[in-house]
């Protein structure tokens, strides 16, 4: 079964995944508006300049974040 994974070596910390993730948007609406989520309940967030998975179990594996990641640092595998 595929899972959401992150390669922090590739991550630029741009946050595209954080704001594009539809589940993040549902949990923390300001994320969908392009801002940082206000809660750690979301799937992923940028912390110290790198993306970090907080609640990977919430991922519905929709494949949206890999489409927006400029460096393939977040992926389903």
């Amino acid at each position: 079964m595929v899972e959401l994974k992150v390669d922090q070596d590739k991550c630029l910390g741009c946050g595209n995944c954080v704001v594009s993730c539809p589940v993040n948007g549902a949990i923390s609406p300001e994320a969908a508006g392009g801002h940082g989520p206000k809660t750690e309940e979301v799937i992923m967030m940028v912390e110290n300049g790198l993306v970090k998975l907080f609640n990977v179990d919430k991922c519905a594996k929709c494949g949206t974040c890999p489409l927006f990641c400029p460096t393939d640092a977040i992926y389903l595998e």
Binding site: C21, T64, L67
Partner: protein, 353 residues
């Protein structure tokens, strides 16, 4: 001796079982599968599991859209007739159960009537599965126009204007470098009457009035033309394997030549409040039902995703794909051929939600 044999060719799976009395075989075509998950729901022994459809469709994950657990599969064949796109084929002694009257099958079809079809190719372009091929043979252009044209070669000064202006490339000159023996810029000029459409551009553009031409098409065209010569001939073909009976061809056909019968009736409900516009449903839908309404982008209260339900086959793939449960697909009617088996009838009816 009864044994299960599972064959795995690329992503196509075949589960076989042969006994002295009977051979049963279930085969799955991955490229046909739309990832709706109906088979997973219907399987009485939970042998089928839907794969990561979004990852396969959107990020190119190299996985099969469904997996069949051969240890669990009892080869009952129930998954086959419920598949809305015929990705699962079940055979008993090499005969598909779709050819057997005692087994139910979904009533669905797509047809293009060659009698009504004008071979405009709108359906071919619109078909979301590229299942339609329209082959057409157009009449000779020369048989749709009549007229007369003549170039007075004595008057012609070989300027080449008509050759350059002719929209049908019907006029050709024999250009050459002048020599003392042949002190001209062109040795000949000719009109190809197969190409000429008698538009009279050459006549109007000739600086020395060397061209005499008349068009009869406008005044006498109807009488001059042989109706047989003007006919557009062709044929239409629907690849039944890839066709999902979505109805795009029927909707777009300008002459009602396409007819589609759908197996499911239902409702496609989108919760615009919940929708985060991630686009997963757009990519998964095999019928191009869903789109982002561009003209409303950024407007207050605008739809995040728009559905044209007339193309929907109510397979439910979008509902499965949606990561935020914003889509609900209801199936209110299932059209299928009758069966005497109560358990099969019950399964077919259980497709209703």
């Amino acid at each position: 001796m009864v044994a299960n044999v599972k064959e795995l060719k690329a992503k196509e799976v075949t589960v076989k079982r042969a006994s002295p009395e009977e051979k049963r075989e279930l085969s799955f075509k991955d490229e046909i599968c739309v990832g709706c998950g109906i088979c997973e729901k219907i399987c009485p022994v939970q042998a089928i599991e839907l794969g990561p459809i979004n990852a396969i469709e959107r990020t190119g994950a190299e996985e099969s859209k469904i997996s069949i657990d051969e240890a669990k599969c009892v080869l009952c064949g129930m998954c086959s007739p419920v598949c809305p796109v015929d990705a699962l084929e079940f055979k008993i002694d090499d005969k598909s159960i779709k050819e057997m009257e005692e087994y139910p099958k979904l009533i669905k079809s797509s047809e293009i009537s060659d009698e009504e079809c004008i071979y405009c190719k709108a359906c071919e372009t619109a078909c979301p599965r590229d299942a339609i091929t329209i082959a057409r043979v157009l009449p000779d252009r020369s048989k749709l126009v009549t007229g007369e044209i003549e170039i007075d070669k004595e008057t012609c000064v070989s300027c080449g204007i008509c050759e350059e202006m002719c929209p049908a490339d019907a006029i050709t000159m024999e250009h050459h470098e002048p020599t003392s023996a042949e002190p001209t810029v062109s040795t000949d000029i000719n009109v190809d009457k197969e190409k000429c459409v008698y538009c009279l551009i050459c006549k109007k553009s000739c600086p020395v009035d060397a061209i005499k031409a008349v068009c009869r098409s406008c005044s006498y065209g109807e009488y001059d033309l042989n109706p047989e010569d003007t006919e557009i001939k062709g044929s239409s073909f629907i690849d039944e394997e890839t066709c999902v009976d979505c109805g795009w061809c029927e909707e777009i056909c300008p002459v009602d030549a396409a007819h589609v019968e759908k197996a499911f009736e239902g409702e496609l409900l989108i919760d615009q409040e919940k929708c985060e516009a991630c686009g997963a449903c757009l990519e998964i839908c095999p019928c191009n039902v869903l789109s982002f309404p561009k003209e409303e982008f950024g407007k207050q209260g605008a739809e995040n995703v728009r559905a044209e339900e007339k193309y929907c086959i109510y397979c439910g793939a979008c509902e499965k794909a949606c990561p935020v449960e914003a889509i609900e697909v209801k199936r209110t009617a299932v059209k299928h051929t009758p069966t005497k088996s109560k358990s099969w009838d019950k399964k077919m009816e259980s497709l209703k939600t």
